[in-house]
């Protein structure tokens, strides 16, 4: 088990290091100058503009040699300082991200967990009979092949515009500001439902298909045949198959995180939901170095942390790893 974790940790650390470096590097390769952008929005005469340019370049420490900027970056990062946004100047990046994170978690966590759980149950159920399998399989494939944003658009159109049951923009009604009351909570849930549903449905299809395949594989394994030969009821055989099929699905969850993040991003764009995805888009469009970096970093950390949690869960669930029998 030690070996299992130490290997994983190594990969995470290296990944983190690489990602941070890439994160720092790429915006610097970009054509365009964030300070210029910021200044061009303010109407200034040439003289003032030049002085302010020097001032801000110095303030943002962009006049230092490159390697020093890199080290400063790490230094600041370890202090939790992600810089100041140029797009939403003078708010600190960490604060902007901090405001957006709750919405992301609120959207991502339920949809990931529920679609995984429901999809797995459903896939296992579909594997029971041939007829059920033949009708449910195409639906699953269709769902998982549906692009996230198109499903979001469809849901928004059908349930938001045509039927008018749900709003299609924002995290809560524009007439409110966050406060603790049932109406606010209701509004939040009302706005949350459609984006959640589109993330849930696509994920559901994928998990259902995966589980169905794994279950069939397990049901045809030798141990299933042996139990059958000893007269075990189908219930027991299915239970064992399910327990064994869940394991690869769990590691699959870790692998899918990147995809889900992408999906959440476009869904937020469709529904103007104020999460990290929406933020990153605005940051890119406005060429805000620090905000882009911060968002990307946050996504990386989030995915790595989630991966780690899943690895821990895997060790708990698969008894073989505890005995040091399953490498990776």
């Amino acid at each position: 088990m030690r070996r299992y974790f130490s290997r994983k940790l190594l990969i995470y650390l290296v990944t983190f290091f690489l990602a941070v470096t890439v994160d720092w590097l790429i915006p610097r390769l970009m054509p365009g100058d964030p300070i210029q952008n910021m200044l061009s929005r303010a109407a200034l005469n040439a003289n003032a503009a030049e002085k302010l340019y020097t001032y801000y370049t110095h303030a943002f420490r962009l006049d230092l040699p490159v390697w020093r900027q890199y080290l400063n970056f790490w230094n600041a990062l370890l202090h939790g300082d992600l810089g100041i946004s140029t797009y939403l100047f003078p708010t600190p990046v960490s604060e902007i991200i901090g405001d957006a994170v709750p919405y992301d978690l609120f959207l991502l966590l339920p949809s990931i967990l529920l679609s995984w759980w429901a999809g797995n149950k459903f896939g296992a159920y579909a594997a029971r009979t041939k007829r059920l399998d033949n009708t449910l399989l195409p639906i699953g494939y269709l769902l998982t092949a549906t692009p996230y944003m198109w499903l979001g658009i469809l849901l928004a159109w059908v349930f938001g515009i045509v039927l008018g049951w749900f709003p299609i923009a924002g995290a809560y009604s524009y007439t409110m500001s966050p406060h603790l009351s049932w109406t606010f909570v209701g509004s939040v849930l009302h706005h949350w439902f459609l984006p959640f549903a589109s993330l849930f449905l696509v994920g559901f299809g994928g998990w259902a298909i995966g589980m169905r395949n794994m279950i069939i594989y397990e049901l045809e394994a030798d141990y299933s045949h042996y139990l059958e030969a000893l007269g075990a009821p189908r219930r027991l055989i299915r239970k064992y198959a399910f327990r064994n099929a869940i394991l690869p699905q769990l590691s699959g969850l870790a692998l899918q995180l990147g995809v889900v993040v992408a999906g959440a991003l476009v869904t937020e764009v469709v529904f103007s939901y104020p999460g990290i995805g929406y933020l990153i888009l605005a940051a890119i469009q406005n060429q805000d170095y620090f905000l882009v970096q911060g968002c990307f970093l946050f996504i990386i950390i989030g995915v790595l942390a989630a991966n780690f949690l899943i690895d821990v869960a895997y060790v708990i669930v698969d008894p073989r790893t505890r005995r040091g029998m399953v490498g990776e």
Binding site: D23, T146, P147, L151, A262, I300
Partner: protein, 290 residues
């Protein structure tokens, strides 16, 4: 030598026999083929320029404009065909690149084993863990002019780990089979072994991997395009949807603008996945239905 050739031919015929009878394969392939034909010969169906204005604005499907017009009076059907072409191109190029890269890395890792395998594994795992979509975002954002080819290359460069993993696993299982040991004992050079003994058995796997990568590349490209990080010129199905949402097709109810592109993607990728299941049955006797 002769005996081996005969065996190979017999196996190919056996696959063909089952392939022609497999429903999933037939249905999936026909759907994909249908879209492919529309994309390839679309210019015969309509000769309107997708970018041209001039039609009635925001008008629903009619005899003259099969898919209606956009907010600006552009022909949605013409855009659709142009978009289909771009989508197929990205799928083929991006998916192809990912498969080739995955093939190289997976083969070498699985066949050589040892330190080579370990280091390639670490590399693969790292690329797998990185949310490559976020990476693509940043890279794409900082290129002012982007083309279809560039997009395909990026997708290929980030999607290969899936293929590499699958191919490595398959190589490992084949490598320890008897006929490979026989070839090694008889003194065949490693490269020759790879090409004559292992590759034919991997063919089925490679085909299936490519199909999955093809579908995956289409989805990734559509997502990138939708955010506005796709090609800066031209059309794709994702770009169509982006414009639709941007220009208020939702509140205005211009459903003919955003439904066809997404539906086409869902249909094509779904059909590809379906084909894959069918192919799995053709290549794997155990899965065939009685």
């Amino acid at each position: 030598m002769a005996r081996r050739d005969r065996g190979g031919k017999k196996r190919r015929n056996e696959f063909l026999y089952f392939a022609l009878r497999n429903n999933k394969l037939k249905i999936g392939a026909s759907i994909v083929l249908l879209f492919l034909l529309v994309a390839a010969f679309g210019s015969f169906l309509t000769d309107r320029d997708p970018e041209a204005f001039g039609g009635p604005m925001s008008s629903p499907p009619s005899a003259e404009y099969w898919f209606g017009t956009t907010f600006f009076g552009q022909d949605v059907f013409a855009q659709f065909i142009a978009g289909l072409r771009a989508t197929f191109l990205v799928g083929a190029l991006g998916g192809g690149l990912a498969t080739v890269l995955g093939m190289l890395i997976g083969f070498v890792a699985g066949y050589r084993g040892g330190a080579v395998d370990e280091s390639l594994n670490v590399l693969t795992n790292i690329v797998l863990v990185i949310p490559t979509f976020a990476l693509l975002l940043i890279i794409s954002a900082y290129l002012q002019v982007r083309g279809l080819i560039m997009e395909s290359i990026f997708i290929g460069l980030t999607a290969w780990p899936w293929a590499a993993r699958a191919i490595r696993a398959q190589t490992l299982s084949l490598r320890s089979r008897e006929f490979v040991d026989m070839a090694r004992i008889s003194g065949m050079r490693p490269l020759r072994i790879i090409f004559t003994e292992i590759a034919p058995n991997m063919m089925s796997y490679l085909v299936m991997t490519f199909i999955l990568q093809f579908g995956g590349a289409i989805l990734i490209a559509a997502t990138l395009d939708f955010i506005g990080l796709g090609p800066t010129e031209g059309f794709s199905l994702g770009i169509m949807m982006q414009y639709a949402v941007l220009w208020g097709a939702l509140p205005l109810g211009l459903w003919w603008w955003f439904v066809p592109p997404g539906a086409a993607i869902a249909a094509i990728v779904g059909a590809l996945y379906f084909m894959n299941v069918g192919l799995d049955e053709v290549f794997n006797p155990k899965l065939r239905e009685t």
